[in-house]
């Protein structure tokens, strides 16, 4: 069943149809929230809250945009709001890989090279720092395009802005990340 049909039935009070939408979008919702918060529990809470809000306000969804852009907007707004309330975000969890015991990494990666892994860990830390210090909307645009694979047109719809603005955000984000890696080496 297509999203539009499920939404229409959910608007009539069929919760089971909305539960199908939950199953369809839960991974994406969780990953968006995780990219913003870098904390699994917070990401779970935020993305679940997004589903609850979407269901409570489903009657306001008029179908002018697709369900997923409307829903992504709820997720992104919750994440931006969360970021505003918790200025320091725990980005360190992304470094879990670099913090794993050496033996585990050695086993997991056949092309294991300690020096390269150390550099990779450091580079990842710098990337995360750069993302953290980035303006929130710039970061949102970058995460939605790069991490979630949304088109620029969809990112613009989610962020309620123009495609031109998203292009600028994206370019600035990539430029900042490039700069952080140049400094790193």
């Amino acid at each position: 069943m297509r999203d539009e049909e499920l939404v229409a039935l959910s608007q009539q009070g069929d919760r089971h149809c909305f539960e199908i939408l939950v199953r369809r979008y839960m991974e994406k919702a969780y990953h968006i929230a995780f990219n913003f918060t870098r904390d699994s529990e917070t990401a779970k809470d935020l993305s679940q809250d997004a589903f609850l809000r979407a269901y409570a306000n489903l009657k306001q969804f008029n179908g002018r945009s697709s369900f997923y852009t409307w829903f992504y907007r709820i997720v992104v707004n919750l994440c931006l709001d969360h970021a505003r309330r918790h200025r320091r975000v725990a980005w360190e969890s992304l470094d879990r890989m670099s913090e794993e015991p050496a033996e585990q990494r050695q086993l997991a990666d056949s092309s294991y090279a300690p020096e390269e892994q150390a550099l990779a860990g450091e580079a990842k830390r710098r990337v995360n720092e750069t993302l953290e210090t980035m303006p929130k909307k710039q970061r949102a645009a970058f995460l939605l395009r790069n991490h979630q694979g949304l088109s620029i047109a969809d990112v613009a719809k989610v962020m309620k802005t123009t495609e031109g603005t998203v292009r600028v955000y994206l370019h600035r984000a990539v430029a900042a990340l490039r700069q952080s890696l140049v400094e790193f080496v």
């Binding site: 919760r15 909305f18 539960e19 939950v22 199953r23 839960m26 991974e27 969780y30 990953h31 995780f34 990219n35 779970k44 679940q48 589903f51 609850l52 269901y55 409570a56 092309s111 090279a113 390269e116 892994q117 550099l119 990779a120 450091e122 580079a123 990842k124 990337v127 395009r145 790069n146 991490h147 694979g149 088109s151 620029i152 292009r167 600028v168 994206l170 370019h171 990539v174 430029a175 990340l177 490039r178 890696l181 140049v182 790193f184 080496v185």
Partner: protein, 186 residues
């Protein structure tokens, strides 16, 4: 990130186009222009290569086990149900499963009705006869008194009619007497 080499600096005027090119977001003309430039510009080729190497690694999402997603789904569905229950709490009162509720509601409704009627009746009496402002019994007109006054009015009206008749008779008699006496002419 296995290769941590720095990202190559690209030509300034092509940098944004290269980012869009990487994401496949530029139009046909722009794409052709960038591709043409790439054939002759080593720096931009390196820059694009770095984007292709670094950006996908940043996007790598942490794989979660299926148990996590099952639990996530169950929790979300449960929260949705709770939210709906809070929104439509009154529906639970009419839940067919709660069969004992119907007679209980009926009894309560009858009791409320009886109490309401009793209290309402008392209030009505109080309204008709407000306490502390009782009218003296002497003044209160009962049915007999009303009939008495009505008959009195009627008798008085008859008296008045009789008097009027008497006055008319007297006047007529006086005029006839004057006509009989010839000396009394005005």
């Amino acid at each position: 990130m296995k290769n941590s080499a720095p990202l190559e600096t690209a030509c300034k005027q092509y940098e944004e186009d290269l980012v869009l090119h990487y994401y496949g977001e530029n139009g046909d003309n722009e794409r052709r222009r960038v591709e043409q430039h790439l054939t002759s510009c080593h720096s931009c080729r390196r820059f694009l290569g770095d984007l292709q190497r670094v950006l996908p690694q940043m996007a790598g999402a942490e794989e979660m086990p299926q148990a996590f997603w099952d639990n996530y789904y169950r929790e979300t569905v449960s929260k949705l149900a709770e939210q709906e229950e809070r929104k439509f709490w009154w529906r639970s009162l009419f839940n067919p499963m709660r069969t004992w509720m119907a007679p209980a509601f009926g009894t309560v409704a009858v009791a409320v009705l009886v109490v309401g009627l009793v209290i309402g009746k008392g209030n009505l009496r109080l309204f008709v006869e407000p306490r502390g402002e009782s009218i003296p019994r002497e003044i209160l007109a009962d049915q007999n008194q009303l009939e008495f006054f009505e008959s009195m009015d009627m008798l008085e009206a008859l008296d008045r009619l009789e008097n009027q008749d008497d006055q008319k008779t007297d006047t007529t008699n006086g005029e006839s007497n004057r006509a009989e006496l010839p000396g009394v002419v005005a």
